[in-house]
Symmetry: C2
């Protein structure tokens, strides 16, 4: 197959949802232009934004950081060290390499040093994955607020977003639909959160990372094994292979219809957590409840 853009070179990827074969030279340019279009269409970022990019060391978040800098955004990185034996150190190393290459600041938040507990030490009723998600959301927001960033960008791709939608649909958790978005607006105590890669499939991001020679960690978190999100991604890809474009339609149509689900969100009154001072619906926020039991935090 020949590249649709240059009409000369051999295509390395055929983006079936757009019926678009592209070569290794044309693909990265298309990828960056597509990112710009999504940013514009959903008003994700402004030139003057101070962006904190949540980086895990994987292909998605490092490609995002790379792309945002390439476009010219003011984007630093935040790495959350979860204390997972070996995996966390190897991930951090990839983020440090990216930080040096991009010449941008990398903030490292070490969960064990800050709270006394790492993710492997959490013995919570919730699963490790959901506790880790809770910790990440809290730390991203708090670090952005404290360090003067007005928006957090995450590397969630189309597969992540569709798996999350499918999981929510299988539970009919209508209120949760109301909270999912490509652009979660700023609210009192919460910075804006955006997902500029939400329309790229995992394969498209991987192809970009490989062609741009982004040095990322090709390793799943050891706790992710058997996660239902991986299963949901697999089944959605089975459907996608039969009907190319299904995932994009599923996600795009959701964004159009999501306002219908906002009324199911229970908008409770927010108050300051009595331990950390961050906004929460309870006396003590979920983060402090999980990580702050041992001692009072000084921050």
């Amino acid at each position: 197959m020949i590249c649709r853009k240059c009409k000369k070179r051999k295509a390395v990827i055929n983006i079936k949802a757009y019926r678009l074969p592209l070569c290794d030279e044309c693909y990265p340019g298309w990828f960056i232009e597509r990112t710009k279009k999504v940013i514009k269409e959903f008003s994700l970022l402004k030139k003057e934004d101070r962006i904190l990019t949540a980086v895990s060391g994987g292909k998605d978040s490092l490609s995002l950081w790379h792309t945002l800098c390439k476009i010219g955004y003011n984007a630093d990185g935040l790495y959350i060290h979860l204390g997972i034996e070996g995996y966390s150190e190897r991930s951090l190393e990839k983020c440090r390499i990216a930080s040096e290459k991009l010449n941008r600041r990398l903030i490292v938040y070490n969960l064990k040093e800050k709270t006394g507990k790492s993710i492997p030490e959490i013995k919570d009723l919730r699963s490790k994955c959901s506790t880790c998600g809770l910790a990440k959301r809290y730390i991203m927001n708090r670090t952005a607020l404290e360090e003067g960033y007005n928006v957090v960008a995450t590397g969630h791709n189309l597969d992540d977003e569709c798996a999350s939608l499918l999981s929510t649909a299988l539970r009919w958790d209508l209120g949760y639909f109301g909270r999912q978005d490509i652009n979660l607006p700023e609210m009192k105590g919460f910075v804006r959160k955006v997902k500029p890669f939400a329309f790229f499939s995992e394969k498209e991001v991987l192809t970009f990372a490989l062609l741009q020679r982004i040095d990322y960690l090709d390793e799943e978190c050891p706790y992710a094994e058997g996660a239902t999100s991986i299963l949901y991604k697999e089944v959605l890809n089975i459907i996608e292979n039969r009907s190319p474009g299904t995932k994009i339609r599923f996600y795009r149509e959701f964004l159009l219809k999501k306002k219908e689900f906002e009324k199911f969100r229970e908008l409770e009154e927010l108050r300051e957590c009595s331990i950390c001072g961050q906004l929460t619906t309870r006396e003590i926020c979920a983060f402090c409840k999980t990580f702050g039991k041992l001692e009072n935090r000084s921050y």
Copy 2:
């Protein structure tokens, strides 16, 4: 594995959603009791109902007819002959056998004889499967009205219902959610429609049909090949195998939440179709538009 009920015989099926292994003697009784419970819980049928059971010759609808008669309901059968070469004749034969065995009336509606067109002859913009669905819904309702039945029962199983919900969710067709139900109430011009097997998986109905020696046609409609509904059933079963009970939760939770989607239904004014007189939102109903082009119907 030993049967949970008699605690003696070897189990032939392990119903994972309920963690219930049952033997060949205990299973049919459990199946019938479970049908009764679903009928009661969702007020599907009353003792005095005159039921028209839509039968296709397959395991689901013939098992349903068999079960309704066994429970003691007043249930006749309706077979819609679609004119599909060979397949329709073989299906009809199985329905005739059931009719004789149950000693109940079988109404046969021959699409070609009544309208001049069979399903294979339909060259419509819509797919054959959706035209066939339209024809069946129309004929079931009209026959029930004309022959004095107050309720139509169909053999839809849990796999059918979940595949349909998944398909609707992937399109975010919120209005369509409002129309899906285990018990579609009677409306002016439309008899009640119920699905007493909606909580049985396809495998559970198959096991019942085999153990009860129901003589059914084990053949897919030749036009169903490659239907997305088959794909959706496959992927839902991949999820079910990993997390038994997912399909039942998906369906049950939907029935609890479906009222939230009713407002998305466009409730248009109904009037009589100028050809057949059945209620429709247009001048000519969709059935007459597709099947009534050649000549005016006499019925």
